[in-house]
């Protein structure tokens, strides 16, 4: 089982070798309500840890998603452009946002594990 980390800003990042998949947490999607649009970065672009790099919009709120670590965007979840509701139905599964290559795995060290995150939003 690959390891999943969580940020205080409600992103999750799942490590797969030196690549990682990033999304927003189920708690975050529930707070936002029905997602109507996701603005994704371009594949190949570089992001630095804590850069706002994605915008997730519901009818009443637009929320920045911050890069949990620095790295390069390898792929974005194209399915979201036609069907943003996937984030509501599967925020931590089919509703992933981007796949990225991690510059420095040590940046993961300060993030939370599932239990710590769960406790933080309880």
């Amino acid at each position: 089982m690959s390891k999943v980390y969580y940020t205080e800003d409600h992103e999750w990042i799942r490590l797969e070798g030196d690549e990682a998949v990033v999304g927003i947490t189920d708690y975050a999607q529930e707070q936002l309500g029905d997602i109507v649009f996701v603005e994704l970065p371009e594949s190949g672009s570089k992001v630095a840890k804590e850069d706002p790099f994605i915008v997730v919009e519901s009818v009443k709120a637009a929320s920045d998603v911050y890069a949990p670590v620095s790295g390069e965007i390898l792929a974005v979840n194209e399915a979201l452009s036609g069907e943003p509701a996937v984030i509501n139905s599967g925020a931590e599964g089919d509703g992933w946002l981007v796949r990225m290559r991690i510059d420095d795995a040590s940046q993961l060290e300060n993030l939370m594990d599932a239990d710590a995150y769960k406790a933080s939003v309880a």
């Binding site: 109507v36 649009f37 603005e39 009818v59 009443k60 709120a61 637009a62 509701a85």
Partner: protein, 939 residues
């Protein structure tokens, strides 16, 4: 207080009619609140330390008739000439059916921005028609519901391109001759972002190229090469055009434009010495999310009926704050609706007939002057002919003026003549005489080859209405769908939906107000200038400032202009580095959006649990950023509806750190005659003339947001847009000049005592409502002595747990009672903010309070499980006639309770919402913002 009964002195009768409650009512209201007098109440509401003790130095009030006569006399010296100046402003005929049934109809002009779609379907439909019209004219799929003026539209378009390139390309090219006023505003708006405006060639580091088609002198340049280069270098193509020309020409969207902007003024709106008019903007699909301003979209209601609503609101300042696409909130809804009605009235063929008339006039004039030996500037043109007259331009302009015509003096050797819908053979003969030539009867078209070849504007609505009977009834049908001030109180907090008195409105239609070109010579507009001087003096007196600029044509524009003045002040003292703007977390979304536009860095100051600015946090932030502090933006009384005690201390802290204090005057209606921003410590303050000073909201604009400034900031006020270095924020010197008479009339008829009484009564009414609603709701945020200012916030959050009822359910249920909802979820999510204004009579305040308390009773029934959480009159609100009368009734409450919850008396004056709850999610996921064309309907 002013008396409505007894033997009223002539000069106080207007104030007594503007103010809803009479002396008897006021006694009752005071008794309910439990204070002996209005003065006691005000003493408990406004901190003693900021009270204005004197009397405002304003002329003694006069009656409606005397004020009208006085204003007419003031404006007598305006000269209504036959304008051929062009440059973005043209003569047009306002169809009388539109003037009387829309422009001068309170059902249209007293409505608010359509945030509550269920009670706004009429004007949303007309704005949807406007968007469809713009999309068809421009050939681009996404059009919004108007911008403030053509010059700001150019700047907004540039902003889209800049953001599209993620703020990394710092240059914008101007390909050919842009209207000078647009160029000035573009410079003003882009300078704070460090974006450079360059002429001519395109390069890869440019965000956009702006092409004028035709250019400001009327000529169509061959822009093919520009477009090709722009495509190759991924430079956004912005085309500034004339909508009437586009009725004949191949739409720019078809030949490479990414953004098309212009002014819809000549579609039925008088020039009005500069405004208000609706500017339009249309973009390609990929730029949709970067589009500023209101966008009307089609969705469905709970019964699956098509229903309109404002779409993609997350782009806007009230949600996105400093990251919004623009600070615009008020736009020009009323004028956009007139433009749409104008297009419906004429249809595509009629519009083309008008366009061809202008083409023919311009062509004949061109033939005539060339036959007499003049050369023309440019080979192709639409309605504007620029004549090369070496050394004679001034003499020609002077000669024309003697015949009653105004031409555009371009330079010593060139003069422009623009033709329009109103031009006649007599005009042509007179002008030919001026140029010393004979009128030639026929001409060949000088339009460019790129003509429209496809059918356009095929949507049924643009073909359905040709008789005046149909038009009158269509406008009535739409108005009947909406809830405006002509039907009921609109208790929107922070919006000041007060009376827009008929006497205030009348001068707007006067010829000497309406039919004057904004660039007419000063000697033609002495009346306007006298009126502007009066307003400058009066508003300065009311706010305590040294000078007022009337140029900003919306509150958001005022904020931007005020912050620019602050920046320039710091720069003038060699303190360019001061760029930190402190903004309380409770601020209106335009504040951070405007600060961001002004190039400032935003630092948020915390608020305490009771809504006040957290003084400790302010001190620490001011200290931390002391070296770079530029300004603090503060709303007073606060957005939470409280007169904060510490406001003087707040101003002192900011000043001590070298910063300036910007007052957001959205809530000025609570202060007129009672306290003055400048005295409290503000350096700049904007006033919303469309709130405090009676300009109607127009269903989402027009508005005016003048700024008052202290002496040291006077040199930094926005100047003449025709001067490229002036820092102008709008296309004309006095912005929306033609609606200034509304505020002039209000102040003239109220006088110092009337204005003070208005503020007192606004505070009294809000405290009365707060007291009455205390029985069912928790009223949040009160001042030190338990009083609210001119509005109050009611907490509906507890009902989510106790009954599954949301703030939206309460808001929509109010529609069944015949009310527009108060402001929802602002400034605090899950609450309602109620502002009654001084104009609402006691009976209406009581009807509203009764409705709110009755709704509280309904919530009680859900709490007591008499009704289920899933099926009750709140979650199902609003109830339509169709739902109550036609559908099978399956609910646990009866039909009468659904549609007339205030009792059977309600049927005598029942407002029926045309749709039930509108589905916001569906609308944003499936964006439709134009009517389908005929072909699509058929298939």
């Amino acid at each position: 207080m002013l008396s409505k009964t007894g033997a009223p002195a002539k000069d106080t009768r207007f104030a007594a009619r503007h103010i809803g409650p009479d002396d008897n009512d006021i006694r009752k209201m005071l008794a309910t609140i439990g204070v002996p007098s209005v003065e006691t109440l005000i003493g408990q509401t406004i901190p003693e330390s900021i009270r204005f003790k004197g009397a405002l130095n304003l002329p003694a009030p006069v009656s409606e008739q005397d004020a009208l006569l006085e204003l007419k006399t003031r404006l007598e010296s305006n000269v209504v000439a036959r304008s051929k100046i062009g440059q973005g402003y043209y003569g047009c005929h306002v169809p009388p059916v539109i003037q009387r049934n829309l422009f001068e109809n309170p059902a249209w002009y007293t409505a608010y921005t359509p945030y509550q779609p269920e009670i706004s379907q009429g004007r949303l439909e007309m704005l949807f028609n406007f968007q469809t019209l713009v999309s068809e004219l421009t050939g681009l799929p996404i059009a919004n519901a108007s911008l403030l003026d053509e010059a700001t539209a150019v700047a907004e378009a540039a902003g889209i391109a800049w953001r599209h390139h993620r703020m990394k390309r710092q240059k914008i090219a101007v390909a050919n001759r842009l209207h000078p006023q647009s160029r000035t505003v573009l410079e003003t708006r882009m300078a704070p972002h460090g974006v450079e405006i360059v002429d001519g060639a395109i390069s890869e580091d440019m965000a956009a190229v702006i092409i004028s088609w035709p250019d400001t002198l009327g000529c169509f340049d061959d822009v093919g090469e520009f477009i090709k280069q722009a495509r190759d270098m991924d430079v956004v193509v912005i085309v500034a055009t004339d909508p009437l020309a586009l009725t004949l020409l191949d739409p720019p969207g078809h030949w490479g434009a990414d953004i098309v902007i212009g002014s819809a003024q000549r579609f039925g709106v008088p020039m009005g010495f500069g405004g208000p008019h609706a500017a339009y903007i249309a973009v390609t699909e990929k730029l949709t999310r970067l589009m500023p301003g209101r966008l009307v979209g089609e969705s469905v209601d709970t019964a699956g009926r098509p229903a309109y609503r404002l779409a993609l609101q997350t782009r806007e300042q009230h949600i996105r704050r400093d990251k919004a696409t623009s600070n615009i909130c008020t736009a020009q809804a009323l004028l956009a609706n007139i433009a749409a009605a104008f297009a419906i009235w004429h249809g595509p063929d009629g519009l083309q007939t008008i366009a061809r008339h202008a083409v023919s006039m311009a062509g004949r004039f061109a033939e005539s002057v060339t036959a007499a030996g003049y050369a023309l500037y440019g080979a192709t043109f639409f309605d504007t002919v620029t004549v090369h007259a070496p050394g004679k331009a001034q003499a020609l302009c002077d000669a024309a003026e003697e015949h009653g015509y105004l031409l555009r003096f371009v330079d010593a050797d060139h003069v422009s003549v623009a033709f329009d819908e109103t031009s006649s053979d007599r005009d042509l003969d007179a002008l030919c005489q001026v140029f010393g030539c004979t009128t030639i009867e026929s001409s060949k078209s000088r339009l460019p080859n790129a003509l429209r070849s496809q059918p356009w504007l095929t949507q049924p609505i643009f073909h359905a209405i040709r008789s005046e009977t149909d038009m009158m009834r269509y406008l009535r049908k739409l108005a009947d769908k909406d809830l405006a001030l002509d039907r009921a109180m609109i208790p929107l907090g922070s919006c000041t939906m007060k009376l827009n008195a008929a006497a205030e409105m009348m001068p707007v239609s006067w010829e000497k107000v309406a039919n004057i070109h904004p660039f007419a010579p000063d000697r033609h507009v002495e009346g306007y200038r006298a009126m502007v001087d009066d307003l400058d003096r009066w508003l300065s007196e009311i706010t305590g400032f040294a000078k007022v600029s009337l140029q900003p044509n919306a509150g958001s524009q005022g904020e931007f202009a005020g912050l620019l003045a602050i920046s320039k002040y710091h720069q003038s003292r060699g303190e360019d580095h001061r760029d930190i703007c402190l903004i309380p977390s409770s601020a209106h979304g335009t504040n951070p959006a405007s600060a961001s536009m002004a190039g400032m860095r935003i630092v948020v100051v915390k608020c305490t649990d009771d809504g006040d600015i957290d003084l400790d946090d302010l001190k620490s932030k001011a200290d931390q950023f002391s070296d770079n502090l530029a300004a603090l933006m503060i709303t007073y009384p606060s957005t939470h509806g409280v007169f904060e005690e510490s406001v003087r201390d707040i101003c002192d802290i900011v000043h001590a750190h070298g910063g300036q204090v910007y007052f957001d005057g959205a809530n000025l209606n609570a202060m007129t005659g009672l306290a003055r921003p400048c005295d409290i410590g503000a350096d700049v303050c904007h006033m919303n003339l469309h709130k405090t000073f009676c300009i109607p909201h127009g269903g989402g604009g027009p508005g005016i947001g003048p700024i008052g400034v202290a002496e040291h900031l006077v040199p930094f006020l926005p100047g003449d847009p025709l001067n490229s270095e002036s820092g102008a924020v709008a296309a004309t010197r006095y912005g929306s000049a033609s609606i200034l008479p509304i505020s002039w009339m209000y102040i003239r008829m109220m006088g110092a005592e009337g204005l003070k009484s208005a503020a007192e009564t606004a505070i009294l009414s809000a405290n009365y409502i707060a007291k009455r609603l205390d029985d069912g709701y928790k009223v949040l945020y009160r001042g030190k002595r338990g009083r609210v200012a001119h509005e109050c916030i009611v907490d509906t959050r507890p009902f989510k747990d106790s009954a599954g009822v949301s703030v939206e359910d309460v808001a929509k249920r109010l529609i069944d009672y015949g009310f527009h909802a108060p402001t929802m979820s602002w400034p605090v999510a899950g609450t309602l903010m109620i502002e009654p204004t001084e104009s609402e009579p006691l009976a209406e305040l009581d009807r509203f309070c009764d409705a709110m308390l009755s709704i509280r009773g309904e919530i009680g029934k859900i709490e007591g499980q008499e009704w289920s959480r899933e099926d009750n009159p709140l979650v199902n609100a609003p109830h339509t006639a169709q739902g109550a009368l036609v559908s099978e009734w399956t609910h646990d409450y009866d039909r009468q309770l659904a549609v007339a919850p205030a009792g059977a008396d309600q049927f005598a004056f029942k407002y029926w919402p045309p749709v039930s709850r509108v589905d916001n999610v569906y609308g944003d996921r499936n964006l439709v913002c134009t009517c389908p064309p005929l072909e699509q309907l058929a298939s």
